[in-house]
Structures are given as structure tokens and as C-alpha cells.
């Protein structure tokens, strides 16, 4: 299954400056593994040493934050949009 992955500015050194790339995989974990295959080093930026999502990385599959879904096991349907975004906040 092919998905479109939006790459944040700080990871574009791994994608040759591209803001969006395609990747294959039925789950987020598979998509990240495929990204790593084509853009070596990118997975270590998104995942910590234990293979979990880093706590200051937010990942969305379409409009859903994967932390509200199944995390790395979240399904990535064909044509889905995956966004990797550094955590930020406003408010107090």
C-alpha cells in the first residue's frame, strides 16, 4: 500500500529537501521501515532507542493522531496521508 508522507523541515536533509515522499506499508511501523530503506537515518530521528515514537514527535495518519489510535500499529490505508510533526504548543 502506498502512502504520502509529509516530512518536517528538520528531516528534509534525509529526503534531499523533499517536503513529501511516498512510502509503502500497511501500518505506520511498516511505512517508517520503508522510509528508512529509502532515506537512511530518518527512522532513528523519529523513533527512540527502544523503537517507540519519540515523545516530542507527533504522527498523524490522515487527520488522526496515532497516539489516539494504535500507535505504530495504526493502519495506513492505500493513498493515506501521513504527517510527521514536531510537538509544539501554545496556551499557558
Amino acid at each position: 500500500m502506498s502512502v504520502n508522507v509529509r516530512i518536517p523541515t528538520i528531516l528534509r536533509t534525509y529526503t534531499g529537501g523533499q517536503a513529501e515522499v511516498t512510502a509503502e506499508g500497511a501500518t505506520l511501523a511498516e511505512v517508517l521501515a520503508d522510509l528508512e530503506k529509502n532515506h537512511q537515518g530518518i527512522a532513528a530521528r523519529v523513533l527512540d532507542d527502544t523503537g517507540k515514537l519519540r515523545r516530542f514527535v507527533n504522527v498523524y495518519v490522515n487527520d488522526d493522531d496515532v497516539r489516539f489510535a494504535d500507535g505504530l500499529a495504526t493502519a495506513t490505508p492505500d493513498g493515506a496521508g501521513v504527517s510527521i510533526i514536531p510537538a509544539v504548543a501554545g496556551g499557558c
Partner: protein, 434 residues
């Protein structure tokens, strides 16, 4: 003047000419892994995605001289310019000049709550756009000017949008701000009146935040300074001035306990940073203090994590009248947990009914009409005292971060005229008010 490294600053070099626009700031430092970066419009660590914050070489060796210099400064946050990432002549540049708001000794409220020590309300509704946001935006505007941005922007739960709109108008920037479409009417009007673009987004604050993060990486956002995204390291430092002012207004004394609202958790972490700086600089006596975080029950991810003994914060979908605190995925949540535990404080939450009761309690006892976030801090203070977690015999400061006129909807259903009468004395007597 000698320099002293504070917080994560470890370098002993003096600031370069290029960084003089940032005063004593020397670098950006990752709070997670400690990696350091040049001062620039970046907010996330390239190594681990952790948040970047400003590292300083602050003036030291002459606390009396520094104290005199501060006291002789303007009645705004710029009196603390030697401790902020701003140029030395910042007070001469166009700005809303926020800060130095009242610290109200709340004796009437203290009696109601059974507080025998000193109770103070730090009333930040007195800022130019009636919330603490003017502090953080003022610092971000200076950074935007230095980086050559021409448009100021933000994702906002309402207060920030107004603060950015007003600051942009004063400082000569274009503004375009983004809010959830269903905010309180008062906040929407206040955000729009300054003439910049205001965009309502169909979604929660977290959705707005995500949108802005994506806009930054897109050509459409080129040249834009998002005060709480790519200018966030500078913006956050504005909250330190709350700590500075509280201590100066207490006679250069640390409070024993502070109750602070939590949305992203940024303000609480920066107040802690400010207190630690004052201690390191010798401006206040080094003694323990406790920091308490306050959330609304309908959006209490940090409070839930604190009570469960967790180090990580599980995001929630917000559902509360305290919309300025309705951030379900608080970026600084883990740091808030660390600080509350390190200082011996706590994180607590109150439901919407108690928030409204607390707004009315503060208004009735002290003549301060707080927005819902102020209802949260006062309500949580009451609960902490009832539960024996906050010591009523000590000096306590409670933050009110915004003006009740912005959240009239919260109290309007249960607040109104005591009577409506004909314009006659008989009618007045019949109303039973005498």
C-alpha cells in the same frame, strides 16, 4: 562584567556581535538531549525533536547593582531586559510594553479559604490585551524583528491571537492568526479588531496547532514568524518575567507556594526557570518553594499523569469551559510533572462547576474578574487546601492569567441583576433589597 552560566548554558565565550540582538542569550539548547544550536528561528532539536530553549550567560557578581538597575527600569517587563533574549535598548522599540501587573494581597479571599499566611493574586488581566500573553508575544516580536520576518502568526486558544494582533499593529507587522472556530465571542472579536487576518479552523486547538506546524514547512508560510512555533524558544522566555515580578513585588522574596494554570505547561516551566535564575544570581534567598499546576477536569492530561505516578502524559480530547487551557496534548507536560515532583508541589484539577464558583469567589472577595483559567487556579487552590496539599500558613501566590470579560459565557447563565424594578421607591422596597 563577569558572566555566569545559568540553566543549561555551559559555554564561557562572550556573545558574538550577531547575537547582541538577543542580549545575554548565547545559544539554543535542547531540553531533551542538551544539543546546542545557534540562535535562530528554530524550535525543535534536529537530533531528537526535543524542544529548544534559550541558554544564557547572565550578569553576575553584583546582585545589588543588578537589583538597583532593575528597580530603576521601566514599569514593564523591559526592566528585566538584562535577563531576557532582547537587545539592551528594547524599551525604545515599538511594543505594547506589557508586564509589571499588580500583585494583589488577597486578605478577603484568604479568610474565605482559611489561609492564615499571605495569599496574593498575580493579576495578569492588567496587561494591554488583558492576558499574560502580551509578555510572551513582546519577546517573540523582538526575535521576529531580528530574523527579518514581516508577518506575525500563531495558533491560539484566543488570548494569544489578540495579543499577536495588537503587538503586530503597534510594531508594524502584518498579522495572520489561527484559532478554533468555536471560541468565546469576546476572544474572537478581540482577536479580529486589530485589523490583521483572523482564520477560524474547524477543529480543536490541537488541530490548529498541527495546521500551523505544517504551514511553517510550506512555501505559503515563508517569512512568517509563528510566535509559539518557530519563535517559541524566545516567546516562552516571556513567562519568566512573571517569576521576576512576583519576587520583586514580594520585596525580593521567593513565595513558598505558587499555583499556575497548565495548558501546554510552558508557563509553569518558565516560571520555575525564572525562580532558579533569581536564586543563581543572588537576587533572592536560596530556599525551597513548591510549584502547583492547575487544570480543568475536562482537559487534565497532566493532572491525570501526576496522580497516576506516570512520567509521560497521555493526550486527551478537551471538553471544558476553560478553553484557554484546552490543550489535550501538552508539549511541556513531562517537564511539569518533573517540576511538581522536584519541588514537592502537585498537579490538580477542578470541574467546570467549581471553576465558575471560583471565578465568582475571586470577584466577590477581591474585586478581580478572572477568565476561566483564573477560575481554575483559584478553584484548584481551594481544593489543594481542603485536601491538605497546600499549606495555608505559608506565603502563596495564585496566578490569574486573563480577564473575565473575555469569557462572559462562563458566568452569564448564573450571573445577572438582583432585581428588575419600576423606577419607584415602592418598587425598590418590594424587591426586598433593603
Amino acid at each position: 562584567m563577569a558572566v555566569q552560566s545559568v540553566e543549561s548554558s555551559t559555554t564561557s565565550s562572550t556573545p558574538s556581535a550577531a547575537s547582541r540582538a538577543f542580549g545575554p542569550a548565547v545559544a539554543l539548547s535542547c531540553r531533551e538531549c542538551g544539543e546546542r544550536f545557534e540562535l535562530g528561528p528554530v524550535f525543535a532539536c534536529e537530533v531528537c525533536f526535543g524542544p529548544l530553549e534559550v541558554a544564557y550567560e547572565l550578569p553576575s557578581g553584583d546582585p545589588e547593582g543588578l537589583r538597583r538597575r532593575i528597580e530603576a527600569g521601566p514599569n514593564s517587563i523591559w526592566r528585566y531586559a538584562p535577563l531576557l533574549p532582547v537587545p539592551a535598548d528594547v524599551a525604545d522599540l515599538p511594543s505594547l510594553n506589557p508586564g509589571f501587573t499588580q500583585l494583589v494581597k488577597a486578605d478577603n479571599l484568604a479568610r474565605e479559604l482559611g489561609v492564615t499566611g499571605e495569599l496574593h493574586i498575580k493579576d495578569d488581566s492588567g496587561n494591554p490585551t488583558h492576558s499574560f500573553k502580551d509578555r510572551v508575544v513582546a519577546i517573540a516580536v523582538q526575535a521576529a524583528r531580528t530574523f527579518g520576518f514581516t508577518t506575525l502568526s500563531c495558533s491560539s486558544t484566543g488570548n494569544l491571537a489578540g495579543a499577536v494582533g495588537a503587538a503586530a499593529a503597534r510594531a508594524g507587522f502584518r498579522s495572520c492568526v489561527f484559532i478554533p472556530h468555536d471560541l468565546e465571542a469576546g476572544k474572537v472579536v478581540m482577536a479580529a479588531v486589530y485589523g490583521g487576518d483572523l482564520v477560524g479552523i474547524e477543529g480543536t486547538y490541537d488541530d490548529v496547532n498541527r495546521f500551523c506546524s505544517e504551514l511553517i514547512g510550506d512555501p505559503a508560510g515563508e517569512g512568517w514568524g509563528f510566535v509559539n512555533v518557530n519563535l517559541r524558544p524566545y516567546y516562552g522566555e516571556g513567562s519568566k518575567t512573571l517569576a521576576y515580578e512576583i519576587c520583586e513585588q514580594l520585596g525580593w522574596r521567593l513565595p513558598d507556594q505558587i499555583v499556575i494554570p497548565i495548558a501546554s505547561g510552558s508557563q509553569l516551566t518558565k516560571i520555575d526557570k525564572g525562580l532558579k535564575e533569581l536564586i543563581a544570581l543572588g537576587l533572592v534567598e536560596d530556599k525551597p518553594y513548591k510549584i502547583f499546576g492547575a487544570q480543568a477536569e475536562g482537559c487534565s492530561p497532566v493532572s491525570a499523569a501526576f496522580k497516576a505516578g506516570h512520567d509521560v502524559v497521555r493526550p486527551q480530547k478537551p471538553r471544558t469551559i476553560a478553553k484557554s487551557l484546552a490543550i489535550g496534548n501538552p508539549a511541556d507536560g513531562p517537564y511539569v510533572l518533573d517540576i511538581a515532583r522536584r519541588t514537592g508541589g502537585a498537579v490538580e484539577d477542578v470541574d467546570d462547576e467549581r471553576i465558575v464558583d471560583a471565578i465568582k469567589l475571586l470577584a466577590r472577595t477581591e474585586g478581580i474578574f478572572a477568565e476561566t483559567a483564573g477560575g481554575v487556579t483559584v478553584g484548584v487552590t481551594k481544593k489543594l487546601i481542603e485536601d491538605g496539599l497546600l499549606d495555608p500558613s505559608l506565603t502563596t501566590v495564585v496566578l490569574n492569567t486573563g480577564d473575565g470579560l473575555k469569557t462572559l459565557d462562563a458566568v452569564a447563565p448564573t450571573t445577572g441583576p438582583s432585581a428588575i424594578i419600576r423606577p419607584t421607591l415602592d418598587s425598590f422596597r418590594e424587591a426586598g433589597l433593603v
